[in-house]
Symmetry: none
Amino acid sequence: MNSPSENEVSDLEQSENNLFIEILKKHYGDDYQEKLRIGEKDAKPVIIVDSREKSSRVGKKLEELGATVIMETLDAGDYLCSGNTTVERKRGDDFRSSVFGGSNTSNVFEQLLRLSDAVEKPVLLLENFEKAFGPPGGDEKLSSIYGAMIGIALRLDIPIIPTRNITDTAMVLFRIAKRQQGEYTDRGIARRIPKSITLKERQAYVLEGLFKVGPTKSHQLIEEFKCPINFFTELLNTEIVYTKSGNPKGITGKLADVKGFGWKFVKANKKLLLEEKDEPGEII
Amino acid sequence: MNSPSENEVSDLEQSENNLFIEILKKHYGDDYQEKLRIGEKDAKPVIIVDSREKSSRVGKKLEELGATVIMETLDAGDYLCSGNTTVERKRGDDFRSSVFGGSNTSNVFEQLLRLSDAVEKPVLLLENFEKAFGPPGGDEKLSSIYGAMIGIALRLDIPIIPTRNITDTAMVLFRIAKRQQGEYTDRGIARRIPKSITLKERQAYVLEGLFKVGPTKSHQLIEEFKCPINFFTELLNTEIVYTKSGNPKGITGKLADVKGFGWKFVKANKKLLLEEKDEPGEII
DNA sequence: CTGTAATCTTTATGA
DNA sequence: TCATAAAGATTACAG
């Protein structure tokens, strides 16, 4: 019935990618892609639910929201929302007891550390997190609870998403699945265009796409250079000046006359405008 | 001129690393390290609080907890908890209005993207997050609120830590500072490749400032022209083709090969990039 | 962020 | 080839 993937945790990405697909194949055959319309815009997202998850109500709610739910026994995590996104659900009171749990399996940090090793993108759903603090007045353990959350978020690097109740939990699962299974995962960040009445306003807004440029600087730049192209041209002609020992010192050109723009600004934005190769994993 | 040594300053974050130290020096002199016993196990953690942060109560609570609090004007974020950890605090209702960008305020995404540009390790403290959902029953926008949280956590890769109230917020700040300023190196954990915004995505984001360019087209353009400047150059060389009777028909150049770009697009955006005088009213 | 309305480009069709 | 209409895709806007 349930055949776990052969290759254990050698390549995280591969194994997880395959697990999701394998389960889909098992339930829908090799042409699962067409049947489920995976990747298409308005396709129903598929969510694989661990059959041991206590609350089957989540599965029911997911179906109500319009998801395709598959029950399977999962080695790690409670829900698979895509080939690489695995969600662990914890209710507040569970979280509380896991924080103070015994040394091995019951400790939440250890649990999530294992999850982190096993899957590519773990996510922690913290349902009704206020319950983690116990009855009012029992605040001695407060710093332990928050300490655990900080450790999970900053050290294990696992995203925490709080929800109010089981309904919200289902909603979040649905949204995560929808997002990760969307046409291409790389959809741009939506910019909110302010009601720009004048052309100038809108020109300033274009420049706000650059590094270190917010509303204030964008207007300064348009005021100084009159139009976006003039600024771009000037920026590309701007050079960084170095000290004899090779340390960046300042910049050349008109931009040097405007307050608030230094060599770091020039370096970052020249790269942004000019670089032709993608650099995956680079943190901007 | 001297060529820069490559690994000298690889990115913007470097500046923030120094900011923390610089502020410490400014307030405690060059021997701040001994005075504050930075790095020592039971040292009082130092937290730098943005002087514009509305609630000075947080600062007071931090001192009660035993932190050394310094007030400074910060360019990005509300609290510096270490050389690289910057915390943005948002109350639930603030978060709600940021999602729905009240008239002239930019939305959470733009705010946090800028934070992400400016600092190495941004953290979002979501205080009283249940308030983000508005009055009970107003749950139609539930998916927007949670969608925003998902985007922040999974796409921007910014950790979210929920707190119940201002007291807890102070506690969390204290703990984070204590953790990040402790002497132990917390590199024991195998870290996954951080999924953050890539240069390519950021380049696409720049183009979204133009007329009629959203997530889809911005990516098409970067895919086709490799970098923003290449596209701008090509756009300026693109001409509108007219019929004999003088009606606009199509466009010239490489842009004509990419689907989805017509003469109205070219007209509006050439003007946007080039026009040097301000013009009131709608320009499309 | 989400969902709907408005707008643009493209394709189809007839003059 | 041009003009117009319908279809399809994407952005703009409001909540």
